[in-house]
Symmetry: C2
């Protein structure tokens, strides 16, 4: 095994480790709040953008609309969000928080990526910038081989496809 491949294996191992830890993190959040990580994250995004329709919400979460559909289903049975069919465009469903959902968001503001952020915040900026640079590098490497759509907003991200086209993004697609 070359020196290089050792490092590569190491990187991949560490990546897996990060996945694992983030996953556990999510479990922990679940225990604390009764909601899973994705659910909490979803609620937060809804809170900041309500009313929001499913497609755009999915876009904001970098998830597939059907995935978000499921999450919304579960949040709805918990009475944390509600759906309203739009009158202007009857295909559209507006999603917003219920009172219950709103109070939950307030009480659990940063839990979603909480510890994650907390951990990072303890590092000196210099260190963070290092990590940031490396992450960007990783993204560049991985992403170079396959960079989907191309996005809007500050954070353009790898979006799962299904050519969204909301009020805010009127682009074209294959």
């Amino acid at each position: 095994m070359t020196d290089k491949s050792v490092v590569i294996t190491d990187i991949i191992d560490n990546l897996r480790r990060v996945f694992q830890i983030l996953n556990e993190q999510s479990k922990k959040v679940e225990k604390d709040t009764g909601l899973t990580g994705p659910q909490l994250w979803t609620i937060k995004v809804i809170n900041e953008n309500a009313p929001i329709n499913l497609s755009y919400l999915a876009y904001r979460l970098y998830l597939h609309p059907t995935t978000v559909g499921g999450i919304i289903d579960r949040l709805e049975t918990r009475h944390l969000v509600k759906r309203t069919r739009s009158k202007e465009d009857r295909r559209v469903v507006w999603i917003e928080l219920t009172a219950e959902g709103k109070s939950l968001v307030k009480s659990a503001p940063e839990v979603a990526q909480g510890l994650l952020v907390a951990g990072l915040e303890e590092l000196p900026v210099l260190n963070l910038k290092d990590i940031d640079k490396s992450m960007k590098n990783l993204v560049k490497i991985f992403g170079a081989q396959k960079t989907p759509p191309k996005l809007i907003r500050s954070t353009e991200i790898n979006y799962p496809l299904r050519k969204i086209k909301t009020e805010r993004s009127k682009g074209s697609k294959t």
Copy 2:
């Protein structure tokens, strides 16, 4: 937003991006080989360790035994692996590749993390070491808040718990 929190947001965004890309990667592999990423990875590990029992296999994959159980089920219906009940210890099931499975492993040797590795391999070692360092840093940060068991072998990893205890690791656990 402070300078720091911008960087942090950035890191997290990039992390998500990496997840996304790896996920797509897996999809691509699936298209190429007919097997999902985890399935291919599993087969590879079996190939290198056969015969192997489920618990230890799970340990090697950093996954929960029940998760691996499901993967093995699916591989078994595809006739790529077979299970044999051990005679010495009838609780144990030995898992190994069928002829078909073996030939598949040969024909798709590195696909699992293929592109991933390919991408990394194009980088100069220096660059890789940077990334490596940052990843380790990330792991340290995340892991510090919650480090499960503690592992053996070269690559000690965040193992999902269920206090494994195989022939090779005779430790204790809470």
